[in-house]
Amino acid sequence: MSPRAKGIFGGEVLNRIQIKLPAISVNEGMARSAVASFVSQLDPDVGELADIKCAVSEAVTNCIVHGYRASTGLIYITVTLLEGRAVKIEIRDRGCGIPDVRAARQPLFTTDADGERSGMGFTVMESFTDGVRVRSKVGVGTTVVLLKRLATRAPL
């Protein structure tokens, strides 16, 4: 990420929402819709909103499929709207953690080949946002931060 982009995501906070929901698969749709609904107040275009929904869906699915695996737990989502049409979405679990984050971020990497996982989750997140940060500790959990800058809309 460029220094300029970092500056944008350090801007003044306009609004924020926190969502806490059980790591069950039915909540994948709920999570992406809730985030999209909140971000809608910045009037993003259809493509930007689709990108955000897809990236959130990937991160939340990772919490459920990988973070908590057979166990259950909570997913904590914080969406922050910042000055300069910047959106920061933090998705956190208290699951098993990722031993090697760099390897996990590689395209086609998956630890669940039997489950028809494509291994494209992090690649999708990276391609559909302007920045992805991952912090993880084995046995403690994983936090994924998605950064998205919305295009400036021409006044009506």
């Binding site: 994948e28 897809c54 990937e58 395209p107 086609l108 028809e116 494509s118 690649t123 999708v124």
Partner: protein, 134 residues
């Protein structure tokens, strides 16, 4: 608000048309997979057409779903066609480099040309960024 998906299977001769409708994610993919595979093993068509025109959302779970069906239909000696994916869906397919492995068809010729041009532009852009999946 519901996040559901369902499908309709139509078999005519050696061809099976599956219309998938709704949102494809990790939650809905299992039922779609079971529905398609059940019909595949029963009818054993030569060609499976997955009509994606009514799919309103798809994440990388959809990629796994498509690649998994490709693998099943190949085991049965048949072929897979992915029909009428939306702009957003073809974008994620291209991101995974899957358009090289699967047959994507559009029933509307004009839209097909537009989407092919858009896909080429995206591939070029992602190559420049060095993000394309090998």
């Amino acid at each position: 608000m519901t996040h559901k998906a369902d499908l309709v299977c139509d078999t005519a001769g050696e061809q099976m048309l599956v219309r998938v409708r709704g949102e494809i994610d990790h939650h809905t993919a299992a039922d779609i997979r079971n529905g398609i595979d059940g019909a595949l093993f029963e009818k054993r068509p030569r060609r499976l057409i997955m009509d994606m025109s009514a799919v309103t959302f798809m994440d990388s779970s959809g990629l796994g779903l498509i690649m998994g069906r490709l693998s099943v239909i190949r085991q049965l000696g048949g072929e897979l066609v992915v029909q009428d994916p939306s702009e957003a869906i073809s974008r994620i397919i291209t991101l995974a480099g899957m358009e090289r492995a699967i047959d994507i068809r559009y029933t509307d010729g004009e839209r097909r040309t537009q989407q092919k041009t858009a896909a080429r532009r995206r591939r070029k852009a992602s190559r420049t960024e060095g993000k394309v999946a090998k």
